[in-house]
C-alpha cells in the first residue's frame, strides 16, 4: 500500500492528521485549478477550502479503485463551474492591487527580460481564460496546468473523450481569436515560428 492510500484509509477511519497530509499534498493543484477557473485569489482560496471540506465530508464514498487526484480535481472543477454559473450575470474584474497568489518560479528561466515577458504573457493568458465557457475552461486548465490526460479529464468532468477533445480544440481556437485581437503588438515582438517548438 502506498503512502497516499495509507493516508486515505486512515482519513476514512477518522484521522484528521492523515487528512491534513492529503490537504498538504494536493493544496497546490486544487488551488491552481480554482484560481485559473475563478480568476481571483480570494475566490480561489475559498473554493479550494470548500473543495477540501466537500472531500472530507464525502471521503467514505471515495472508490479506492479510482485515482484520488482525479476524484479531488473533479470535485474542485464541478464546484468552480457551479460557482461561475451562479455568478454569470455578476461582472467582476481582475484588480491589479489584489493580493496575487504565489506563482511557482521557473528555474530554467534564461534571463530577467524573458522572464518578465513570460510573466506578462501568463497574466494575459490568465485574463483571457475568463472569457471561456466554464466547462471548456476546466478542460483546458486540467490539460495544461494539471497535466491530466484526455481520459482523466473525461472522468473528472463527466464527459466522453471525444467531447473533451472537441472542447479543448474549441477553447484553444477561442483563445487564439481573442489573443489575435488583443495582442497584435506582442506578436510582433516574438513570432511563434521563431520558437524551436515549431
Amino acid at each position: 500500500m502506498n503512502d497516499e492510500l495509507t493516508w486515505i484509509v486512515q482519513a476514512q477511519n477518522g484521522s484528521d492528521e492523515a487528512f491534513t497530509y492529503l490537504v498538504e499534498a494536493y493544496q497546490t493543484p486544487v488551488y491552481n485549478l480554482c484560481y485559473r477557473m475563478l480568476g481571483e485569489p480570494e475566490a480561489a482560496e475559498d473554493a479550494a477550502q470548500e473543495t477540501f471540506l466537500k472531500v472530507y465530508q464525502n471521503l467514505a464514498r471515495y472508490d479506492r479503485e479510482r485515482s484520488f487526484a482525479t476524484w479531488l480535481l473533479s470535485i474542485a472543477a464541478h464546484y468552480c463551474i457551479d460557482r461561475l454559473r451562479r455568478r454569470r450575470f455578476v461582472s467582476f474584474s481582475i484588480d491589479e492591487d489584489e493580493e496575487t497568489p504565489v506563482e511557482l518560479p521557473d528555474r530554467s528561466a534564461p534571463d530577467p527580460e524573458a522572464e518578465t515577458m513570460r510573466r506578462q504573457e501568463q497574466a494575459h493568458l490568465h485574463q483571457l481564460l475568463q472569457s471561456l465557457d466554464p466547462t471548456d475552461r476546466a478542460a483546458l486548465v486540467l490539460r495544461y496546468w494539471n497535466g491530466c490526460s484526455e481520459i482523466e479529464i473525461a472522468q473528472a468532468l463527466t464527459l466522453t473523450v471525444p467531447a473533451v477533445k472537441n472542447r479543448l480544440h474549441r477553447a484553444r481556437r477561442a483563445l487564439a481569436k481573442v489573443w489575435e485581437k488583443e495582442a497584435p503588438r506582442a506578436r510582433t515582438e516574438r513570432r511563434p515560428h521563431e520558437s524551436p517548438a515549431f
Partner: protein
C-alpha cells in the same frame, strides 16, 4: 485563407516531420489566425502553477473546526425545536383529558378504572373463546391441512424476503 492541415497539426499536438515544420513556419509568417493559435499553444505549454499563500492547511483546519462547531449548533437547535414541537403537539392532543382530570380528578379516575376493568373482562372472554376454538377446530380440519399450511407460510415468507432483498439492491459507488 485555408488553415488546413496546419491548424489540425497544432491542435492535435502531434510530432511533425522536418518538412511539415518548414511548411508550418512559412504558413505562420503569412497567417495571423494560425500565428495566434501557435502563440496560445506556446503560452499554454509554458503555463505556471499558482500556489496558495503559506498556511493553507492550517487555515483549512480552522475552517473544519468552525464547520464542526456550526454543525453541533445546528444539531442542538434542531433537537430543541423538535422537542418543543413534539411537546406542544402532545399537550394540545392531551388537553381535553388533562382538563377533565384537573376539573374532577375522582370522576376521571373512576372512569379510567372502569375502562381498565372492562378491558380486563374483554380479554378474559377472548381467551376463553380462543381455547374453545382450539379444542373444536382440530376435529373439523383434516390432518394433512397443517403441513400444507406450514409449507404455504414458509413459501410466502421466502417470497417476501426475496422481494425485500431485490428492492434493497442499490448500486454502490460515487
Amino acid at each position: 485563407m485555408n488553415h488546413r492541415p496546419f491548424e489540425d497539426w497544432m491542435l492535435e499536438d502531434q510530432g511533425l516531420t522536418p518538412e511539415q515544420k518548414r511548411d508550418l513556419q512559412s504558413h505562420l509568417r503569412t497567417c495571423g489566425q494560425c500565428a495566434a493559435l501557435a502563440e496560445v499553444s506556446l503560452a499554454l505549454g509554458s503555463s505556471r502553477t499558482a500556489a496558495p499563500t503559506p498556511g493553507f492547511a492550517d487555515r483549512f483546519r480552522v475552517r473544519l473546526a468552525a464547520q464542526r462547531q456550526a454543525q453541533r449548533k445546528r444539531n442542538f437547535w434542531g433537537f430543541l425545536i423538535l422537542a418543543i414541537s413534539v411537546t406542544t403537539i402532545l399537550s394540545w392532543l392531551a388537553w381535553p383529558i388533562l382538563r377533565v382530570m384537573l376539573d374532577s380528578p375522582v370522576n376521571a379516575l373512576s372512569t379510567w378504572l372502569s375502562y381498565l376493568l372492562s378491558l380486563w373482562f374483554w380479554l378474559q372472554a377472548l381467551g376463553q373463546a380462543g381455547s374453545v376454538l382450539l379444542r373444536v377446530i382440530p376435529t373439523f380440519v383434516p390432518p394433512y391441512f397443517w403441513p400444507l399450511a406450514t409449507f404455504a407460510l414458509a413459501g410466502w415468507s421466502l417470497l417476501w424476503v426475496l422481494s425485500i432483498w431485490k428492492l434493497a439492491k442499490i448500486p454502490q459507488g460515487v
